[in-house]
Amino acid sequence: MKFNTMTAAAALALVTPAMLAANPDAKLVVNGQIEMTTETEAPEHLDGLRTIRSGWTFRTEETQSLQMDDFDNPAMIYVDEARDAWYAKDGAADQSCASCHEDPESLEGLRAELPKWNEEAGKVYTAEMYVNECRTERMEAEPWGWDSQEMKNMTALISSVSRGMTVDVQIDGPVRETWERGKEIYYTRYGQLELACATCHEENYDMNIRADHLSQGHINGFPTYRLKQANLVSMHNRFNGCIRDTRGVPYEIGSEDFVALELYVASRGNGLSVEGPAVRN
């Protein structure tokens, strides 16, 4: 259509710093060692996108470089804190994570499959749910808040030992119903601004909305370190903020609805690498 060509041309004239910074050929290699897939063909179940791209590809060169070396990645301080917590005994059973799991590296590969079906519990489990079940049932310790510093640190550690592995979340079998619910949420237009996740992250990614350069909203980099917040941010916290920005009422952090959304969003990133803890602005 003539109209579209015209607006596209006009939009091109408006080159902003955020657009300049996104170098499409940049490669993400962490510590000169872990090679990440930051762009690949969209998984088959995903009709709305042909190519999926990690959030890293949308950030400025400066922010990108912070994620390329653990000495520069501010999230690694939290990962170190979690390593200490891993070996610290807590709770009435006088156990630490290490009492049963040896090193954190024993959880290598787990993050690439999360969230996943937990047969015993009969529902989809996220990293937070596994950690808290071990804390309450096995260590007889207090559970950590979903969005607490301790929990974000621990999920960052769990993610870090799977970095570079390919996200491969199951969408069939017993998780299907939860996945469908997550998909429904993804395409629902919430709030007085009537925006769905898809409106921003599927239909308008790579565009600037005010000063923000919209990504595809993948979660392979979570928990992410957000420079703006100078801390780790959990996936549910991000979902919460995005729905708030529609002038809507978000679901609770840790709710079944957000677990379902997490599963669905994770599956949209099947094929990307686990990057968490990533760095974002």
Binding site: M1, F3, C200, A211
Partner: protein, 162 residues
């Protein structure tokens, strides 16, 4: 330019049948034309274009530039690119159509990302502004009737220079 509007209008007709714009009430009775325009001004006070410009750049009001580039508003930073640039928009649309776009752009473009600025109900999990607290419908519209007249007055000044 005129030709573009005609082409567009015919696309709109084709779309309207497929994706029926959702129901919702407005802050006052509104009658939309065939293509989503609103011919009747919403107030008796003529719009003030200067105030309209202010509404468009103010985050807590129209926040229009978060999606639209407008050269005449380049004193304000960070114009987005989710919507088309509005330069010359008064050559593409008449006042009624501009008003309709503000009241509820989905009547013109079914399924558009552009929010309805005068709608009060028909929302999913609406909140009280950005507080995350649930809000009872009818909600206060995003812009008042006079705000909309002011923005329409400003948009009506956006002609291509010749």
């Amino acid at each position: 330019m005129k030709q573009t509007a005609t082409i567009l209008a015919s696309c709109v007709i084709a779309l309207a049948g497929a994706a029926q714009a959702d129901e919702g009430a407005y802050a006052q009775e509104i009658s939309f034309g065939e293509y989503g325009g609103v011919a009747e001004p919403l107030t008796d006070t003529p719009g003030d274009p200067e105030r309209g410009a202010e509404i468009m750049v103010t985050k807590s009001e129209g926040n229009c530039i978060s999606c639209h580039m407008v050269s005449a508003l380049d004193f304000a930073p960070f114009h987005g690119e989710v919507g088309p640039p509005l330069d010359g928009v008064a050559d593409r649309w008449d006042e009624a159509q501009l008003r309709g776009l503000l009241v509820d752009a989905k009547q013109t473009y079914p399924g558009t990302i552009m929010p309805a600025y005068f709608k009060t109900s028909g929302y999913v999990r609406p909140g009280q502004a950005f507080t995350k607290k649930p809000a009872e419908e009818p909600l206060p519209p995003l812009l008042s009737a006079q705000d909309i007249e002011d923005v329409v007055a400003f948009l009506s000044t956006l002609h291509w220079e010749d």
